[in-house]
Symmetry: C2
Subunit: 417 residues, 2 copies
């Protein structure tokens, strides 16, 4: 039996800083002379024995991960079921892990990957193989429990706050003869954290955004339209931030009304943003514009938050530390001790407390109108978007994002499935 | 008769750097002890005698215009007709101009405002009033003739190139189990300049974007789908950049098919981006995501091009210089003398040659497939997106954008209209 290797994988929607976590993991392991393998496309790479040897990447390339968005090793949307239902797959994972002398497995993702890491650690333990499994947090949705916030969120939040502020200046300039209402759709299917971040764009009376629609507050069309109309009358224009996860009182997604098929049977890929814009146009007769930034909000490394980058790197380094200490089934989480000045540390938390849970916005973060954020919410969010961490730019005017060599590790097992 | 004042106004869609032009105009005039009035909401402010006294703004506020997006004095979408049809309005403009001792009028906009400035100069001349009218270029569409490029375009182009590059890294990471095709919709109703800028995101074989759809090339659905399918097969995913102005062979906008009313009589505000995404989903059965950045692409001062900023300030300074020299009916345009190293100067061009013309992409800038840009196009575009010019950020993590005091000038005339 050799010295052992560390296996790292990325899972779920990627972020502007998940590669910064990867870089921190690899650098921390290299400093301890531990070899890091990376699975391609998350847990699927482990199932397929499709592994990358990170020791063949240069130090400069690994350093450049800190300023490169996307997921350098590929990610996946793939949820393993229970140990019983997916027994063959878990056995396969363990076989690959054993074949490559993996002693430490770090799975970088959200709820689902915390769950996978937890199950794998249980299986290894019961089979007597010494494997330490660590969940490493990441999600722009900021919906993991226990941790104060999630790496990836701060940068998406900063992107949202800055973009709303910039677009609002545009709308203000055009409103006299053109666009009166601007609708900005943010990600967050179940939680309004990114919608709330849009609220950081302004704070004085009547500053944009004037209306925020959270998944946590049931949509009331009449009330919404009345508010938009009143804002336009008072301010001259109205900026609306809406979460993709906005719901009707019956729990159905508002966006679903805009999706479906048209009269010719063609799909309509309606977002809630264009749908609300159409409602405002039809019912209030106002000129509208709308935006759906989609992946731009989670890949905008050019506008990353320095705080978020620091979090992403810290959880990577701590994950390696916890792994080597044999702290099985934990996640390094962010603990806040002070808002201003912002103080935080990393601490281990049991995966069992995190897997399959979801953190929505607390009631105290949404104001009495249901359309804005409170001072408490602002106090929570502000440190997370604070500080800039621009990537280096090349002579072509574009950021110098790295592409890894991704040298494959030789397979030792027959193909699976 | 006094020393005379200079009247400045902003017109049409605003940009990330039109305020930089405004700041340069005001600073250049201040240096020559000329008082600058600004019309609110473009030419409408002149018609309404709704003027701002810029001498009451601090030097720091005027300096901050260089890093503030939007249109600080308000813009408008309002086209005056011919001197005959809109005789009363032109007479009113001249009356306001005379009442405020305006000797120099600088109109900062695109085709239409060049036309307005030209007509006003003709009228003033024929009425014997000594007024010098200057058109100052601005448009993210880059579609003004004579000038090598338009201030505002370089920053929108940089935003587009960087955002396409970042989103492409996201898609590449997700493609194994999730999104295979990503559609990015850019502005440009009549010209493909911003679509072309998306092409700067990659240049090696099979680097994103893999398909660019220009307004200058008629849309062929079958050919487009075949190409997307082939790219997905070869690369694993496909990034498409599409201009909002994409047209069918008969000249109709493709986006119009996605607009209109649904079965309930509700408006569908379809962009061409979601429409193409739905087509790919229906016809190829591939998972798609799409983005419509809309105003974000023209207000993203946080990602402005340093070259573009320099252009915007230079045309402002030169406009004042030309005005004071009495060079009536001209526009300061950008003249390129070398691609690399990039060399440029500002020269005067007659408004008569610019008004009401439109510059589309030359044939030599679109490659033989019709879906990509040529080396010549890249040579043209690269200097325009080169260099960064980030705004200062506050302790709240947001750019420190300025709001002017906008102190009104006392009215001297009865209300109009």
């Amino acid at each position: 039996m050799g010295k052992g290797t560390l296996l790292y994988a990325q899972s779920g929607g990627v972020t502007a800083v998940i590669n910064a976590t990867a870089g921190a993991v690899i650098e921390a392991a290299r400093a301890r002379k531990i070899k890091v393998l990376a699975a391609r496309n998350g847990i699927l790479g482990a199932l397929r024995e499709d592994l990358v040897d990170t020791s063949r990447e240069s130090a400069a390339a690994i350093r450049a991960l800190a300023h490169t968005p996307g997921g350098a090793f590929g990610s996946c949307r793939y949820k393993l079921k229970s140990l019983e239902e997916d027994a063959a797959k878990y056995e396969r994972l363990l076989a690959v892990i054993k074949a490559h002398d993996v002693r430490w497995f770090l799975y970088n993702g959200g709820n689902d990957s915390a769950d996978t890491a937890l199950k794998l650690s249980t299986l290894a333990e019961s089979s007597g193989y010494p494997l330490t499994c660590i969940g490493v947090p990441k999600t722009v949705d900021n919906d993991l429990v226990v941790t104060d916030c999630c790496p990836g969120f701060g940068s998406a939040a900063k992107y949202t706050a800055v973009s709303v502020a910039e677009a609002a200046l545009d709308v203000a300039a055009m409103a006299d003869t053109s666009t009166k209402v601007f609708v900005y759709e943010v990600m967050g299917r179940h939680a309004g954290w990114l919608a709330a971040a849009g609220g950081l764009a302004g704070q004085g009376k009547d500053e944009a955004p004037h209306v925020i629609l959270f998944p946590e507050v049931a949509y009331d069309e009449a009330k919404f339209l009345a508010r938009v109309e009143a804002v336009v009358k008072r301010v001259g224009y109205c900026v609306v931030v809406v979460s993709e996860g906005l719901r009707h009182p019956d729990g159905g997604f508002v966006a679903d009304a805009g999706a479906g098929k048209d009269a010719f049977g063609h799909s309509q890929l309606g977002g809630v943003g264009p749908l609300l814009a159409a409602t405002v146009k039809d019912r209030l007769g106002l000129k509208v514009h709308w935006t759906v930034p989609d992946y731009l909000q989670r890949s905008a490394r050019h506008l990353a938050s320095r705080t978020d980058l620091a979090h992403a790197q810290a959880v990577g380094r701590k994950a390696v530390e916890y792994a080597l200490k044999g702290m099985n089934g934990v996640m390094p989480v962010i603990v806040r001790s002070s808002h201003a000045p912002y103080r935080w540390t990393i601490a281990p938390a049991p995966l069992a407390k995190i897997a399959n849970h979801e953190k929505t916005m607390p009631k105290g973060f949404i104001d009495a109108s249901g359309y804005g954020i409170t001072a408490a919410c602002r106090r929570y969010l502000t440190p997370l978007v604070k500080g800039e961490a621009p990537p280096p730019y090349g002579p072509d005017g574009l950021p110098k994002y790295v592409r890894l060599a991704l040298k494959p590790v030789a397979k030792k097992l027959p193909a699976f499935g």
